[in-house]
């Protein structure tokens, strides 16, 4: 059954990525947007690998599997886009944003605490270490998502227009954590199903929501 969930996620991410390619790679677009589309693409690749591994092998290896790199890669793309491109525009490093920066730390701290709880419950083993690595990148990305969600817009609506995207990304990060928790604590299947449906919805909505926000930059 997890094969079908994984397949659904692959298809959703694939549709999102395909739409993103069509909208932002045909013509010259902002690198920021392209990075996010690539992030969705990376998710698609990771999910595709997991699906195929289920199909071919019937099971997923404990500890590290290449599918994890899909999550890591996608959040790195999101992080890279925010940290490399957007953050320097919306945050000039002045003390007036200090409070925002501190509040934004709540996101990575929450992720860190969840991992610590998992490590305490299940002990340190290869699985928990790899979950930790996955969560590290997730935490890095979620810091900027939260920061850009709450930061005062001083750049003529640049960040305000993509707040819904940041909210969506934060939601996706939360769903990824829930997916890990569902696996660790063997949640009932319907929980995994709900998480999967929400993730599919988010993956489908990523690019259109971003596109709507980006349009405001030019209008």
């Amino acid at each position: 059954m997890f094969l079908y969930l994984s397949l659904a996620l692959t298809v959703s991410a694939g549709i999102g990525f395909g739409y993103g390619l069509y909208r932002f790679f045909r013509n010259k677009s902002a690198l920021y947007v392209q990075m996010i589309v690539l992030g969705v693409g990376c998710t698609m690749l990771g999910r595709l690998f997991t699906t195929l591994l289920y199909l071919v092998n019937g099971e997923i290896n404990e500890g590290f599997n290449v599918g994890m790199l899909g999550i890591i890669g996608s959040f790195l793309f999101f992080f890279s886009a925010n940290f490399g491109q957007m953050d320097s525009i919306v945050d000039d490093g002045s003390p007036k944003f200090r409070k925002t920066r501190i509040i934004a730390l709540a996101a990575p701290l929450t992720v860190g605490l969840i991992w610590c709880a998992l490590a305490v419950i299940f002990g340190i083993n290869s699985s928990s270490v790899w979950i930790g690595i996955e969560m590290l990148f997730l935490a890095l990305a979620s810091y900027f998502h939260l920061k850009h969600l709450i930061i005062d817009d001083v750049s003529h609506g640049l960040i305000r227009s993509i707040r819904s995207y940041n909210l969506l990304s934060l939601g996706y990060a939360f769903l990824c954590i829930m997916e890990v928790l569902a696996e660790c604590f063997s949640f009932p299947f319907f929980c995994s199903l709900i998480i999967c449906v929400l993730e599919c919805a988010v993956l489908l909505a990523f690019v259109p929501v971003l596109e709507r926000g980006v349009k405001k930059w030019t209008t």
Partner: protein, 215 residues
């Protein structure tokens, strides 16, 4: 014969090296990258052998989980070096990265050929030629694209390259997984289907083999 891999390596690289004094700069660079790719393959083959031993000869696990990581990292190093020390122009870097990937695939195919000399067929040659050549080429191009930001945008480089490396590893692992499964023909189609849009995109952006920029 144990050192057949080395013999093939020498035979290939020496022949290719003969082009170097005669070729003009761009072609020479491509050939050098191919030789580097061939050497990377030789290096990684021994590394993979050690890893295979440490994972109890589980070829399936190692080829779907471990070797994509080692191979992509080893292939990335020469491009990274070139970008840091010599030139980080994307129009030069990407075709050379592809040449490196193809060089890698060349030796890989040769080694697999000599290891399975009794079972290989014409179909096998086509499959390996297209599949392996394209997979290694595409993966190296992906990483090369990220590395091209090394001097222009440091923030992008560090995260973007790692993200692209992740994508390349997954792509490579998917190919390895498929060709060893009953869906091996899907695995063969995968790189071909990816190659066409990538070439279209690169052409559109004015990147051609040989490092000539149209823009």
């Amino acid at each position: 014969m144990d050192n057949l891999t080395y013999i093939v390596f020498i035979a290939m690289t020496v022949s290719l090296a003969l082009i170097l004094p005669l070729a003009e700069k761009k072609l020479r660079r491509l050939v050098i990258f191919m030789i580097v790719g061939i050497f990377s393959c030789l290096f990684v083959s021994e590394l993979n052998n050690i890893l295979l031993d440490s994972f109890h000869n589980d070829v399936f696990y190692v080829t779907t989980t471990i070797t994509p990581v080692t191979e992509e990292i080893v292939k990335m190093l020469p491009i990274l070096y070139f970008a840091i020390v010599i030139n980080d122009d994307r129009h030069i870097l990407i075709p050379n990265a592809f040449a490196l990937g193809v060089g890698f695939a060349l030796l890989e195919n040769m080694v697999i050929l000599i290891q399975n000399i009794e079972t290989v067929t014409i179909l096998w040659a086509f499959v390996r030629g297209f599949g392996s050549g394209l997979v290694h080429g595409i993966c190296t191009v992906m990483v090369g694209w990220g590395i091209s930001y090394i001097k222009k945008r440091r923030k992008f480089f560090f995260c973007g390259t790692f993200a692209l490396l992740s994508a390349a590893i997954i792509y490579h692992a998917i190919y390895n997984l498929l060709v060893q499964s009953e869906y091996q023909y899907v695995g063969i189609l995968l790189p071909i289907l990816t190659y066409i849009p990538i070439v279209y995109l690169l052409r559109k952006k004015g990147i051609k083999p040989g490092g000539v920029s149209e823009t």
